[in-house]
Amino acid sequence: MNNTIYAINGPVIKLRDTKDFAMREMVYVGKKHLIGEVIGVSDKFTTIQVYENTAGLKIGEEVEGTGSPMSVTLGPGIISAIFDGIARPLTDMRKTDGVYVTEGSDIPTIDPERSFDVKVLAKTGDELSAGQIYAECRESPLIINRAMVPPTIKKCIVTYAAPDGSYKVNDTILKVDADGEEIVLTLCQKWPIRTPRPVANRITINTPLITGQRILDSIVPVAKGGTAAIPGGFGTGKTMTQHQIAKWCDADIIVYIGCGERGNEMTQVLEEFSELIDPKSGNHLTDRTVLIANTSNMPVAAREASIYTGITIAEYYRDMGYDIAIMADSTSRWAEALREISGRLEEMPAEEGYPAYLPSRLAEFYERAGNCNTLSGNRGSVTIIGAVSPAGSDFSEPVTQNTKRFVRCFMALDKPLAYARHYPAINWLTSYSEYIPEFAEFYEKNVGEDFLDVRQEICNILLEESKLMEIVKLIGSDVLPDDQKIVLETAKVVRVGFLQQNAFHKDDTYVPMSKQLLMMRVILRLYHASTDALKRGAAVSDIIGTGLFDKLMKMKYDIPNDKPEMFDDYSREIDETIGALKE
């Protein structure tokens, strides 16, 4: 009766005088078997954070060790499911426990009764190494699950291979001999959530994650295997941007982590994604999505774990050779969970009460992204897109600043833009992507040789506009010289006609790269034609009076995605109308 609770303070409990627990070990706390994790060990006290509500717990209740670190079971059945922060299936919990989340629920991550049609690839006598694929089964209409030798087994020889057929996740598929030890391999395996899964080697990033969102793809692209942060005050559209990326990006699998956010938002994702059809495959978006939900009223310690649960699931699918995109909404809530636990442990706080290890935790998380050759010999990638909710919309606060150091793409959401209902409210001047030079070859081959030049010119026009607006704010636009008036008009077309995108419009919600380039080209064509006309002596009022600027502002609605030939008509009209202007 040594291992009993000595002290309770919120989600943190302490045991006295025990040496039975290891750091980061998963434990069961009390009669209800609440799940906890050891976060501190000293000769006097063992400190445990509990992932569930501790109300009702008593001093003297027993704590049971599991002997292994906090782990998640990985196997077929994860896709399309929704889990809480410690990977318990919420849909199954709803069936057994009712509408509220119940403490001590021990429903397994993967339904042990569900069976899959398995094709066994390994034969008796084969020599297998860590990460090698030995069986396949279809997990959802889109995803084939590949069973892999756990990375902990370096080399083994198959002594028994089951025939192809229908198996449950815990049925024996292979028996292997690893250095004289017989190990049974099933369709699933366990992995500690705080340890990155190993890969063969990392490879250079060279492909953008195509999202169909114009400002992202054309102005601040993120890489497959890269990292991006979306910081923004409340109401600027972080969640909306994340949803749009999750819906339309060309990753194979989306892991959406709702970390300390609204319950209704998770419900919305559940409902919307089960209705929406993936444009590439024609299947439902849920067939490629995994949801992790720790809403803001669920226990705070599990919020801290939810991020790790999500990334471990992502790495598991990456190892099979898929491209995964993780949406973490929001990493600020995760940082606040760290702060809360740290406060309960009475650790010395650094900036704004956050613990001093906040930057290293953020770095550890973002570094788990990457484009890799996996142990199985496939190529896979994990892209992390993290939302940041800065307190008081002040980007100088610790979470935003530290995140900025570890991501290479920064999509700054802007309050004034959101107030003017300019969505996505990504500020084109303060956002940046370090990946652009690395995509040069990709653009040349897949989009158009002039893509980078066109993009640069568009950016220059926007930059020029922001300089001119300083003057306009002081003295009005009437006094500007004619060529600058044209710049302003063009910039307006870029802002309203190109950067602004309507997520609720059937054509505008997703725009292919080819159309994005055509749109930029036609805007520049009008700009060049107009400046030429000015040089010939045409009046600026006549040029604007042609209505072409207004027409281009609406082209996103007027030209359907499948009619790129309409851009030729637009170009012709520009040449003819502007060309016909008299001096």
């Binding site: 000595y6 002290a7 309770i8 303070n9 919120g10 006295r16 509500n53 501790t54 109300a55 009702g56 717990l57 008593k58 001093i59 003297g60 929704i82 919420l90 849909t91 919990m93 709803r94 509408v99 509220y100 989340v101 119940t102 409340f234 109401g235 300390g260 609204r262 209704n264 419900t267 919305q268 559940l270 939900a293 809403t295 803001s296 009223n297 705070v300 809530r333 606040e336 702060r339 406060g343 009475e346 704004e352 009460g353 307190a391 919309s393 107030y419 003017a420 209902r421 300019h422 306009v472 704010k473 002081l474 003295i475 009005g476 636009s477 009437d478 609720f504 207004d550 609406k554 609605y557």
Partner: protein, 461 residues
Amino acid sequence: MNIQYAGLADVNGPLVALEGVSGVAYEEIAELHLEDGTRRLGRVVQMEGDKVILQVFEGTSGLSLDNTRTVFTGKPLEIPLSTEMLGRVFNGAGKPADGLGDVFAEKFGDINGRALNPVARSYPRNYIHTGISSIDCLMTLIRGQKLPIFSGSGLSHNKLAVQIVKQARIAEENGQDFAVVFAAMGVQNDVADYFRREFEQAGASGRVVMFINLSNDPIIERILTPKCALTTAEYLAFEKNMHILVVMTDITSYAEALREFSSSKGEIPGRKGYPGYLYSDLASMYERAGVIEGSTGSVTQIPILTMPNDDITHPIPDLTAYITEGQIVFDRTLDSEGVYPGLSVLLSLSRLMKDGIGEGYTRADHSDVANQLFAAYAKVQDARSLASVIGEDELSPTDKKYMVFGTEFEQRFLKQGANENRSMEETLELAWDLLSLLPKSELDRMNAKLIEEHYRENIAG
């Protein structure tokens, strides 16, 4: 089981410590019996070995180290629940405060509530008609939403809350009961009176449950007030299938009570001295709004908070807006110009409106009209700031039209009487009247067909 512990080991602010205690559960409720025969309630907030720390709801004044006997009840804090509660007034801890005696409990509810499984939620879709143009058109309130009002001292948030309570109607009347749970935290006596009087005059008090914690009542009770109110709301909504609107005022007092309590526990403070868990704490309150599968009722919340120094980046409004589904923000300038309700349209937002308006709910053009009004009013601000530098006469013709639009929008659309109940149709037609003050080419948020259908040709000069 009924062991009595004589005396206390320590008294500190609202907290007392007991030693030599065993068999007590975390967050359990204890009764403290004083020598003078009175009884107070306390909750276990920390335990270490045989030492237990209790927070005392009624305050610790008069407690000494040896004049109390403590009994642990073995239960978390529960309040009696019943449909009889409609029309009654309670104090912050859920005790009757209207002299009508105890409520006959149909069941007891743990006031802490539990986290809803997101899978069990239904996405809120139906709107609540308030009869206030600015809210109905631009920041539509949806059933199951949490939509706070951000105000400042001296602004008309109480008047607006009363008007919403009086006029709130569910779009499709299907005979379902609609009731209001009103929680006042740290309000002045006359404010509490104002609400009571207004509800009575409107004949609404029979469908209102009031929980009142005045500004001089104990702070621990203030922390319990919203929890009691929401427990009642959940009971009426999810077990009695009623549509419940919860109005909570003033969240700022609540957060300050929480800060006072946290600092007396000796916790490490976060921003502006508020505890690091302010976000989680507020969330555990706001997240209790919603609609759940298997019940036809709903809990909609309108928390009201006064922004200290009108600062929207202050932790209380900031964290609130990160949790709630939008916000309605008051503007001091408009208010002093006599515009009621003087709402800052650009800062206000309803996140859920996009799915609860338009065809089948309000009118097909609603969403485009709202977007266009927002965009146009944003341009009014630009025109005004330009006019303040170069003078109104020097503005371009388009900017001049925006100036006219801005004034008309504020005076005709935003401003309305405290008893004026506008229908959705009236509101949207009024919006088109105003949009028609602008040239067609400025209406860049809608398609040509819509403009064709609704634009009034003869209004724009």
